[in-house]
């Protein structure tokens, strides 16, 4: 964030969101193939798939942009 060589906070945010995106997308795809017996309201919209993709995109963006090897200057 502000010290030289310090990993920016955005990298931590991106990493966590990427992992969450992968997990939620995985669950969404699984539910798409094997629909649950007791779905939540509006399950037909498959929001878990879309939200997983969104998290993955946001997370990847931050991970790539703030990868520590590039972040050796103050941010």
């Amino acid at each position: 964030m502000h010290h030289e060589h310090q990993i920016p906070i955005w990298f931590f945010v991106g990493s966590l969101l990427t992992v969450y995106g992968v997990l939620i997308l995985g669950v969404g795809i699984y539910n798409l193939v094997h629909p649950p017996e007791h779905p939540v309201a509006l399950a037909s919209l498959h929001m878990d798939v879309w939200w997983g993709i969104l998290l993955l995109l946001i997370g990847s963006l931050y991970v790539v942009k703030y990868w520590p090897s590039k972040g050796e200057t103050a941010r």
Partner: protein, 722 residues
């Protein structure tokens, strides 16, 4: 590819393959009608998401330890924060789970008026902080708001503010911890002791290692989690309700059923229902909203609550501090999307199995968490309704993150104020920086331990919770009056500042006691509680509603129901009345009774109860002269100008009066006492503080431009939702 990249990819792949994917086996999380069973059920993938959050925050704490090697690093994050980080941290410190759940509950209770807390109740004050007050805080290089009082008014005011602040901060942190444990227990069935200890040990570790930097990192992380974990609820809810207009119409229609005491109130507008006290659900008028919330409470909270101000005074330069504050203002205006809309959705889309609106009750209602869910459950109920496995884990993680970052914020502010404004001036003035750093680390741990103690005290004295919340609320309003006069009026004297501050605090507390005092006695609503295992039968009317309850055998406890025998019904059957004159309708609660051979629970009001011969009875008469959970309308009419005023309206008007008292006392005392010489007020008071020229900047970095943009957006939102 560097080693870190390998590690990161390996961790990611490991998680994907190791995570259990049989999510359909998990019981679906559904909103249920009038039940005390756990509201949400987490699947394995949800638990992985929660655990990952704990791993990451602890990892951040350990990683940042090496960057907190001096007092300036530990307490002020090195004063090198960028505008975006300062802004996100500023807004996240305020966006705790108590805030999101609490204001969703407010919107359920008060309708769209709840959004004022994010509009007139925040934005003008944040803009004022950014444009007018920030230069003073920044230029005088204070470590804290009590520190500013010390420089401006002297040690007495600093000590009063510092001691009050540290005391209240850890108490509120403990209250937050207790609330989190209670909520996680009710929602997920998690053990309260485990919730308290796991969360507080985590907070203690990462704050004591990384100090403010650690707290700020986690607040930024929490900002993303809370938005991404909650935003789906308004999106799906509005789709479910058939669009925005239909959602508002349904909410207004259902509000008349859910809140029968304010049947004629308009729940869907910001201003047009504030013409008088009885056209809105809060029982307030426009004057109270503008001057109580918009001026006193809002300016007190946003301009002088150190927890907030600390986040932006540590920016790398004045322009970043101002722009960070303005980023916070812009983000604050968007919070109603994830807070107010879910509250309105609670009125519109939370339905019982028969399609009738689900009725939630306040925490103080005897039916709360027995036969009815509470206002505070509106957000978790919607989560249960719309979020499946994975998404639910994200929502619950956002909730836990919100609680923990709130605690961390309080603990880091406690450590700073205690070390710099209490310990250093009163106990040890000349210690080394290393000594203060060690003190700060130990204070973080001590703060967490006191918070844990407070949380456990609340197990036994839960009614203190309400008192604690209003105590800090009444403390910051007088603080604002004292600080703003100190900044804008060089004639304000040390004696004026001290007495204005102290008397306004005392007046605030006196007003609070006054509205909860009942000289003629307060008798709680009459209640009949049918004991566990009692055998009960019903008589129903043509519409299928319970018209009479017959208790065949078992035990019954009554409160304020006259004519009940002391021990047992003897001779003929006894009929308890549906209402008691001058006290109210009789509530009947049956958390676990036997009806036609099966176990049931129900809660009804104003229904006669027949007690058969042999039913055991325990009868109590309650009459109090002081009741913290109840407001005396005969007294609120003097404080909030109306006997219809609801608690929030009373708080807003109390804030206004205490600010007025603070300003008047400070001015009067100052006129009769000696001011400080001007030389000592340099860099502290307007007119004696040269604002440094930070050089030219691109137009898009100009604080004044963004302040104007945010103000125009505020006006536009108020006009659109007038």
């Amino acid at each position: 590819m560097n080693p870190l990249k390998h590690l990161w990819l390996a961790a990611l792949l490991g998680l994907v393959f190791l995570t259990p994917m049989r999510v359909d086996a998990a019981a679906p999380a559904r909103a249920t009608e009038g039940t005390a069973s756990h509201l949400l059920v987490l699947s394995p993938v949800d638990l992985v998401i929660v655990v990952l959050y704990f791993v990451v925050v602890l990892g951040i704490g350990f990683y940042l330890k090496k960057y907190a090697s001096t007092g300036e690093d530990f307490f002020m994050a090195g004063r090198k924060m960028t505008a975006w980080i300062a802004g996100l941290s500023f807004i996240s410190a305020n966006l705790s789970s108590l805030e999101t759940m609490g204001w969703s509950a407010m919107a359920y209770q008060y309708g769209m008026l709840g959004a004022h807390a994010y509009l007139i109740g925040a934005i003008p004050a944040i803009l004022f902080l950014a444009v007018v007050m920030m230069p003073f805080y920044y230029i005088c290089r204070t470590h804290s708001v009590p520190g500013y009082l010390g420089l401006r008014y002297g040690e007495a005011s600093r000590a009063l503010a510092g001691i009050s602040f540290t005391f209240l901060t850890v108490m509120v942190s403990g209250a937050s911890m207790f609330a989190m444990a209670k909520i996680l227990n009710l929602l997920l069935g998690w053990n309260m002791n485990v919730s308290i200890w796991v969360s507080s040990v985590t907070v203690a570790i990462y704050v004591s290692l990384g100090g403010l930097l650690s707290a700020v990192f986690n607040e930024v992380l929490q900002f993303f989690l809370i938005w991404l974990g909650t935003l789906l609820i308004p999106i799906l809810g509005i789709i479910h309700a058939g669009g925005w207009t239909r959602m508002l119409a349904t909410a207004q229609k259902n509000a008349a059923i859910i809140h029968p005491t304010v049947q004629n109130a308009d729940f869907t507008s910001l201003w047009r229902n504030l013409g008088s006290f009885d056209t809105n659900p809060m029982g307030i008028d426009w004057f109270g909203m503008v001057f109580g919330l918009g001026l006193a409470v809002s300016f007190g909270y946003w301009c002088t609550d150190f927890l907030q101000v600390q986040r932006v005074i540590v920016a790398k330069n004045l322009r970043s501090a101002q722009n960070g504050t303005l980023i916070g203002a812009a983000l604050k205006m968007m919070v109603p999307i994830i807070v107010t809309i879910p509250g309105l959705l609670g009125l519109a889309v939370l339905l019982n199995r028969d399609g009738s609106p689900m009725i939630l009750v306040p925490e103080s209602d005897p039916r709360a968490n027995i036969t009815h869910r509470t206002f505070n459950d509106v957000l978790p109920l919607l989560m249960g309704q719309y979020l499946g496995p994975g998404l639910l884990g994200l929502g619950v993680t956002a909730m836990i993150a919100g609680f923990m970052s709130g605690m961390a914020g309080n603990v880091s502010a406690f450590a700073t104020v205690w070390t710099y404004d209490v310990y250093r001036p009163l106990f040890n003035r000349k210690a080394s920086d290393k000594h203060y750093l060690t003190m700060g680390r130990w204070c973080s741990i001590l703060g967490v331990l006191i918070s844990i103690g407070t949380a456990y005290a609340l197990f036994f004295f839960s009614n203190i919770l309400e008192f604690l919340q209003v105590l800090i609320f009444f403390f910051i309003v007088p603080l604002f009056g004292t600080v703003i006069l100190g900044m804008l009026w060089k004639r304000a004297t040390p004696a004026g500042g001290f007495w204005g501050f102290l008397i306004a605090i005392l007046v605030s507390m006196s007003m609070w006691a006054y509205v909860h005092t009942f000289p003629d006695g307060y008798r709680p609503q009459p209640k009949v509680s049918i004991g566990k295992g009692a055998v009960v039968s019903f008589e129903k009317d043509a519409a299928g509603k319970i018209a009479k309850i017959v208790v065949e055998q078992g035990a019954v406890a009554t409160v304020n129901v006259p004519g009940t025998p002391a021990t047992e019904v003897k001779g003929a059957d006894l009929t308890l009345p549906p209402s008691v004159e001058k006290v109210g309708l009789v509530q009947v609660l049956a958390p676990e009774v036997t009806v036609a051979g099966t176990s049931e629970k129900f809660g009804v009001e104003a229904v006669p109860v027949v007690l058969k011969t042999g039913v055991r009875v325990s009868s109590t008469e309650v009459c109090k002269t002081f009741a913290p959970a109840a407001f005396n309308p005969a007294h609120t009419r003097y404080v909030a100008r109306s006997d219809k005023a609801k608690p929030m309206a009373v708080n807003m008007y109390s804030g206004f009066w205490s600010l007025l008292v603070c300003l008047v006392v400070t001015v009067v005392v100052s006129l009769f006492t000696r001011p400080k010489p001007e030389a000592e007020l340099k860099n502290l008071v307007m007119g004696l503080t040269p604002i440094p020229d930070e050089g030219p900047c691109p137009w898009y970095q100009s604080p004044k431009l963004w302040a104007a943009v945010v103000f125009i957006a505020l006006v536009a939102i108020n006009v659109i939702f007038w």
